[in-house]
């Protein structure tokens, strides 16, 4: 058998064994079946959306400050030229 074929067969075999072995691992199936996982999803989404809103507000604040500073510099330059 060619080494490549041998190797890929070995890979497939061990991968399928791995999944067969892993099948019996205990998971939170009941918790999911009850639909309570969506409560967790909702909580996480609120935190995430809040974080993004906060970042956007901070971003706007800095943009406004940059604009004010630029305008002040311009007026100062104009005053100097008079």
């Amino acid at each position: 058998m060619k080494p490549f074929v041998k190797y890929s067969l070995l890979c497939i075999m061990s991968a399928s064994m791995q999944t067969a072995l892993a099948q019996n691992a205990e998971m939170a199936d009941e918790f999911r079946a009850e639909g309570k996982i969506y409560v967790v999803v909702a909580v996480v989404l609120i935190v995430l959306l809040g974080l993004f809103a906060y970042l956007f507000m901070l971003d706007r604040k800095i943009t406004r400050l940059e604009r004010t500073l630029r305008e002040r510099n311009q007026t100062k330059a104009q005053q100097k030229s008079f």
């Binding site: 890979c11 061990s14 991968a15 791995q18 999944t19 072995l21 892993a22 099948q23 019996n24 691992a25 205990e26 998971m27 939170a28 996982i37 969506y38 967790v40 999803v41 996480v44 989404l45 995430l48 959306l49 993004f52 970042l55 956007f56 901070l58 971003d59 800095i62 400050l65 940059e66 500073l69 002040r72 510099n73």
Partner: protein, 224 residues
């Protein structure tokens, strides 16, 4: 950073957090449901490394062209990188407590990343200890290159040469068939992209804030 990138990062992370909690994951012993932490813990480290790479880039740019803005960019990317690293460390310790038995296992990757974080924290100590602005920027840019060069073997090479509980040890590639199957990849890579984009966003906010502060000081001096 463009506005559409910020929205895209937000959208990606919304997808990651919904799919990361709801989607099917491999049923593995010991890990059980905690395998989902791959979507939330590992992107912190990937984000940290990418942010440090940006920091390195601007450190080199500063040495080639000593403009103050290159120095500010270099510092702020390192700053956000350290924040990501601390989050990765805390989440990793929590995860390790429930799967490996204790928060600190002396695992080579844990130790390596702790040392790498300390190396980067020393970067800020170095900056704080020099008063001269140009000297501070130049020395810390050189140190930044050293810090990155120390981090890469500490996190990516040494743990692979030893027995580590982290995937990818003992010479194996980290992302083989067993460690990360395609279902996980579909959420994991977007998580990395999303968090990295958020990291860059926060860094740009800090850079803009610092630029404003420094400009403001200049104005004060002209008035005086």
């Amino acid at each position: 950073m463009k506005t559409w990138m910020k929205f895209l990062a937000g959208g990606i992370l919304l997808y990651v957090h919904i799919a990361g909690l709801i989607s099917d994951v491999p049923r593995l012993n010991i890990l059980n449901e905690t395998v989902r932490n791959i979507f939330f813990h590992v992107p912190m480290w990937f984000g940290m490394v990418l942010l440090f790479a940006f920091s390195l880039y601007y450190a080199i740019r500063y040495l080639r062209n000593p403009a103050l803005e290159n120095d500010i960019k270099s510092v702020e990317f390192a700053n956000v990188g350290v924040a990501f690293g601390v989050l990765g460390m805390l989440t990793g310790m929590l995860w390790a407590n429930y799967t490996w038995g204790s928060p600190w296992h002396g695992d080579p990757k844990q130790n390596g990343s702790a040392i790498a974080l300390l190396v980067y924290m020393a970067y800020f100590v170095l900056r704080g200890s020099i008063d001269n602005r140009e000297q501070k920027a130049r020395l810390s840019a050189v140190y930044n290159i050293f810090a990155f060069a120390a981090m890469v073997p500490l996190i990516f090479i040494i743990p692979r040469l030893q027995d580590s509980l982290h995937p990818g040890s003992g010479g194996n590639p980290g992302f083989n068939v067993y460690d990360l199957d395609n279902r996980l990849r579909l959420i994991f890579y977007p998580a990395v992209v999303g968090w990295f984009a958020v990291g860059v966003w926060i860094a740009t906010l800090r850079i803009r804030y610092r630029a404003l502060a420094e400009k403001n000081l200049e104005i004060d001096e002209t008035i005086r």
